[in-house]
Amino acid sequence: MLEDFRTSHPEHELRSQATKQLAVAYERAGKLSRSASEYERVAAEAEDPQVRREALLVAGDLYEQAGESEDALRLFELYVDQYPEPVELALEIRFKVAGMHDAAGKDEAYREQLRAIVTIEADAASARTSRTRYLAATSSLVLTRSLFDEFKSLALMQPFQENLTAKKRLMDQALAGFELLVRYEVAEVTAAATFYIAETYRNFSDALLASERPSGLSDADLAEYELVIEEEAYPFEERAIAVHRENLELMRIGVFNSWVARSLDELAVLMPGRYAKSEISVGFVGSIDEYAYRSPMAPEALVSAAELTGVDNDPVSR
């Protein structure tokens, strides 16, 4: 009926009211796509900028809920172009847009949005908040990780000196990028950056050890070359260990996240005697109304506790 009214009275002063009511009615009826389209119309027709802005966001959300991601993306992109302020909300929507590009496999568009988030946030002055810092730090982490990936993918093949120079340059760029991330003071991103700094050193050490050996060396020269390579690689591994251990320091101030856990996992490989220590789970009990525990040192200890209780004795991952 409202649609009929709107069609038959295109210039009527209550026409915009009819559109709003239609938007709400469709939403309540679960017709999300129809509702989104009405809200989009509200956004286009409303005179109040505040109403236009909010209607655009609601329409985008509804398209997204309805699974119409192209329309959702179109409106969110329109939003960030038209409403750069308030900054926090604009960055939030831009972050959403970035995620949609990422999900669609549009890597360059994804990165373009992430770069925009970092730039806008850096220029936001007093509009910066802990949330904008988080969004910019997370975006910057993704961008810097690309530098790490590029660095990691470069193997030290012959000509060795040429590749070594290129790899060293990429290492310096990656390290500088990760160091900058720490300035955001976002615990999760700091832990991630620290993890990657350690892994950058470690990869450089591994790459040296795995580097292509020059041809034509005598056995004695090759042995000497191996020694030199090991001597060159060792300090980078030591540095990797030290930086991973810095990440563990975050636990002392109550920060424990997947990056800290990953540093611990890497240390378990690099220093197993010190860090390769896992808890054990009893495992599945396996008896619905009874749990029987027998110590492994019981007199009948030759029968293991596991056999008696059905325990799995599983090491636990971090």
């Binding site: 789970s281 599945f284 619905i288 749990y291």
Partner: protein, 230 residues
């Protein structure tokens, strides 16, 4: 030391509700262990647990409950699935067991362990806490919850959980090792780590790894002492 709480009448009522739900085939609605919002209602601790020493070197926790045949069979089916590493399928069967027999503790513990294996820490914690609401001192639930707390960075709660398990049976080697690891790697309490590793090594005499860990902790303690000596 598992506590006896609640009264017999309440217990009978709980079982009656579960049995009625089972007979009606509408267990999801009638089960006192679940509600529409998916949150656990208050679960009363139960009195029909016994924790008996089994000689000097063990204990047995028994639940004195009548278990309908289908529930027992389904539990066994869930266990078989879980041990075959069909964790998600095992979880579905366990949840059905819990809906029909909400008063049972062990299916909730197993469900918690299953969720933990999938990395679903929140669901694991919820299930293990529900088990402990029924049996506050169940050593297995305490040990597994300690692990989940540690995995989620709640180190103080993890420590309390392991310590409570050890207050039930001080030779419970799982909790000894886990408390040692927590103190060693996560909270930097080396005397605690050493004490618990040594207690564990005294019980599990054929674990060569822990001998290395003990030596490592001793070295670090000596180094730390040397550093602090002027």
């Amino acid at each position: 030391m598992i506590q006896c709480h609640g009264d017999g009448e309440q217990r009978r009522l709980l079982r009656l509700v579960a049995l009625t739900a089972f007979l009606l085939g509408a267990v999801g609605c009638a089960s006192p262990a679940s509600n529409e919002s998916g949150t656990e209602p208050d679960i009363q601790s139960r009195s029909d647990f016994t924790l008996a020493p089994d000689g000097e070197h063990g204990f047995v926790v028994t639940e004195d409950v009548r278990i309908v045949g289908d529930v027992r069979n389904d539990y066994q089916r869930a266990t078989t699935l879980l041990r075959r590493n069909a964790i998600e399928e095992g979880i579905v069967v366990l949840e059905s067991v819990i809906e029909r027999a909400p008063e049972l503790v062990i299916p909730r513990i197993d469900l918690g362990v299953a969720h933990a294996r999938l990395g679903n820490h929140e669901a694991a914690q919820k299930s293990l806490e529900a088990a402990l609401a029924l049996a506050p001192d169940h050593p297995v639930a305490l040990n597994e919850l300690g692990i989940v707390y540690r995995q989620t960075g709640r180190f103080a709660e993890a420590r309390a959980s392991y310590e409570r398990a050890l207050s039930v049976h001080d030779g419970f080697h799982y909790a000894l090792l886990n408390l040692g690891v927590l103190c060693d790697l996560y909270v930097d309490d080396l005397p605690c780590a050493l004490e618990n590793y040594e207690a564990y090594a005294g019980i599990v005499t054929d674990d060569p790894q822990v001998g290395i860990w003990i030596a490592d902790v001793r070295n670090r303690m000596s180094a730390s002492q040397a550093e602090s000596t002027p």
